[in-house]
């Protein structure tokens, strides 16, 4: 904390009731760079959404190509059972990722917050980042060497303990566990940093007061630390709800190589679109489904945002 900030904090206490609203124009200036970036790289390209309702051809360009109406959505929604399954799988995996990811991230952050050894924290924090760098293809190769039926390490361990080996790549529901674990492994360290940073900004006087009251460590965690993290948990949950229907194609590609036997659970929307539209070169079909994912996400997030608003006005996204 800089000296000036401290001084200002002191004056703040003195004149709390005083409040003058100055002109807002500097706020527009501060937001300007961000707004420009958003307009240039997000809003202007958004006009491409019109392509979803068109049959794109080069001579007509974005504007002149003939209208296709909802034709580009047809392939997806006319095979309804696949569409429903893909939507279900996407939501299911995302909910599982969200729950387990949040749980582990928060747990790690809280534990790190309890530890006092600076060196240990620093080292483990960096190490927990490593998985974030490793591409899914490499992770897939490593997982494969663990889970392969004949030579995999896991099955050899099972055999050694007298259990029957498992063909992991042939059991779609069992593989969900593998995916969830892989996701925790890859993202928990990353998420923990976010929560840990919140905890580091917290005033230690809260704890001292509670400690004087004779609270145990566990009580401190559940009564002080956790509640302090709730706004951040809500924020991150809200942010991820918008992406509820979006899946990670590179993950499924890297980890399962699109194994057909696993598709009953791994056929998320992005995978389905890849298997059908992208492989047959119908990119218009692919972007149509992206719009479906976005609209669905928007609806979910508007609902969730309302709910969050009832809990606490400040935790709303917008």
């Amino acid at each position: 904390m800089s000296e000036e900030a401290l001084r200002l904090e002191r004056t703040a206490r003195r004149k709390r009731r005083f409040n003058t609203l100055r002109s807002d124009y500097p706020l527009f200036l501060l937001a300007l760079p961000g707004v420009i970036v958003l307009i240039l790289f997000a809003y202007l390209p958004m006009s491409g959404l019109i392509l979803v309702f068109k049959n794109y051809n080069y001579n007509g360009g974005i504007f002149g190509s003939p209208w296709a109406g909802f034709d580009n959505f047809d392939f997806f929604f006319s095979s309804l059972d696949s569409a429903i399954r893909a939507t279900r799988n996407t939501v299911m995996l995302n909910v599982l990722y969200m729950l387990t990811g949040t749980f582990f991230s928060v747990a790690i952050a809280i534990i790190l917050n309890e530890l006092r050894s600076k060196g240990f924290i620093k080292v483990t924090q960096s190490v927990m980042f490593f998985p974030h760098f490793i591409s899914w293809i490499v992770i897939g190769a490593i997982l494969f060497s663990l889970l392969d039926f004949d030579k995999g390490l896991v099955n050899r361990l099972l055999e050694w303990t007298g259990l029957a080996p498992v063909d992991w790549y042939a059991h779609p529901w069992l593989f969900v566990i593998v995916l969830v674990l892989a996701n925790i492994w890859k993202s928990a360290g990353y998420g923990a940093i976010i929560y840990y940073a919140v905890l580091q900004g917290i005033d230690t006087s809260y704890y001292e007061a509670a400690r004087i009251d004779g609270a145990s460590r566990m009580q401190l965690i559940t009564r002080i630390t956790l509640p302090l993290l709730i706004p951040s948990i809500i924020l991150l949950t809200l942010l991820s709800i918008g992406g509820m229907l979006k899946g990670d194609l590179s993950m499924i590609m890297g980890v399962t190589f699109l194994n057909p036997l696993l598709l009953p659970t791994t056929d998320i929307i992005d995978v389905y679109v890849y298997r059908t539209a992208i492989r047959s070169g119908e990119f218009g079909f692919a972007s149509a489904i992206t719009l479906y994912q976005s609209v669905f996400g928007l609806v979910l997030v508007l609902i969730a945002n309302k709910l969050a608003g009832w809990y606490d006005k400040e935790s709303k996204l917008f």
């Binding site: 904390m1 200002l8 904090e9 002191r10 004056t11 703040a12 206490r13 004149k15 709390r16 807002d24 500097p26 706020l27 501060l30 937001a31 760079p33 961000g34 707004v35 970036v37 958003l38 240039l40 790289f41 202007l44 390209p45 006009s47 959404l49 392509l51 747990a107 309890e114 530890l115 050894s117 240990f120 483990t124 927990m128 980042f129 490593f130 998985p131 974030h132 760098f133 490793i134 591409s135 490499v138 490593i142 030579k151 492994w185 928990a188 976010i194 940073a197 919140v198 900004g201 145990s216 460590r217 566990m218 706004p231 924020l235 992406g243 590609m253 492989r279 719009l291 996400g297 997030v301």
Partner: protein, 294 residues
């Protein structure tokens, strides 16, 4: 008694984190050891924690044939990461300050303006047309970071950190006659330091890990980043796996060697993983000093 309980709890905590850290470290050790193994034994026996038939061959081969390219790619990656992070953190924190400014009538509008882009995107084609034909970002250094200067997720994170700063601090500054610029640079940035560290870390990772911008906007090899070189190599595996290669007959695409794959992974991860704890401090100090002066 509570002391005793605390001690076991703490020991348990150390154990948890230690084990998880080891699990995170393990694949990386496998990668390092794989990159130091001979290809034939790696192919025959699979991964292990100790190199199979220790050799530096993979690295000498890679550096022998591509030393210049790899070093240049490192340079580009470092420049892009540093420039990108500094610019992005400034753009993002300023925006985050605006959407957390109490009493600002349009703060929700701005927040929604940003959030909307997280959900909807117009697809690659218009983005590509604009970047190449209108902004002329193709084959420029700017093209490697400017499109990513505003990560809305990180902007919300920063806003969240700003929200945790006691409102009284801001109020009193306002009473002292400080304008928004002054409050932002002199109070919010220094007080939101932890958040700043975090999002600058995430930004640095984002820029370091990115291969999409070079893939889309760069054809000049001088602007390849290390991550793009990595992607290039992995792309062949992905292509083989997708099965579309059957369409051109007679084409021979050799999958990259296992050891080369691992060596490339080490080359992309190692520098930032080792340097980050040290860099992080200077990064943040630089940003704060810069912003205060600015």
């Amino acid at each position: 008694m509570p002391n005793q309980e605390n001690r076991t709890l703490i020991a348990f905590f150390y154990l948890c984190i230690g084990v998880f850290a080891l699990i995170c470290l393990a694949p990386f050790v496998l990668a390092v050891s794989g990159s130091l193994s001979t290809e034939s034994r790696l192919a025959a026996e699979g991964y292990s924690f100790l190199p199979r038939g220790f050799t530096l061959e993979t690295y000498t081969f890679m550096f022998g044939s591509k030393a210049e390219q790899i070093l240049r790619a490192y340079m580009t990656s470092v420049i892009v990461t540093v420039l990108g992070t500094v610019c992005a953190v400034l753009v993002t924190t300023a925006f985050a300050y605006v959407i957390t400014a109490k009493g600002f009538r349009f703060r929700n509008s701005f927040a929604f303006l940003a959030y909307f882009t997280m959900l909807f995107s117009g697809g690659t084609l218009p983005w590509y047309i604009l970047c190449t034909k209108y902004y002329h970002l193709d084959d420029t250094l700017a093209g490697l970071f400017v499109p990513y200067l505003m990560n809305v997720f990180l902007m919300y994170l920063q806003a969240n950190y700003f929200k945790s700063i006691p409102h009284e601090v801001i109020e009193s500054a306002q009473m002292d006659g400080a304008g928004h610029f002054r409050i932002f640079f002199r109070i919010m940035l220094p007080l939101g330091q932890v958040g700043l560290v975090t999002i600058s870390l995430f930004y640095a990772l984002q820029f370091w890990n990115d291969f999409y911008l070079p893939l889309m906007l760069v054809s000049d090899e001088k602007l390849y980043t290390i991550q793009y070189m990595m992607y290039y190599m992995m792309a062949n595996i992905q292509y083989l796996a997708s099965g579309t290669n059957a369409q051109i007959s007679g084409v021979t695409i050799a999958p990259p060697l296992e050891s080369a794959k691992m060596a490339m992974t080490c080359l992309t991860v190692l520098p930032i993983a080792v340097l980050y704890p040290f860099l992080q401090r200077y990064f943040v100090r630089g940003i704060i000093v810069g912003s205060v002066k600015g």
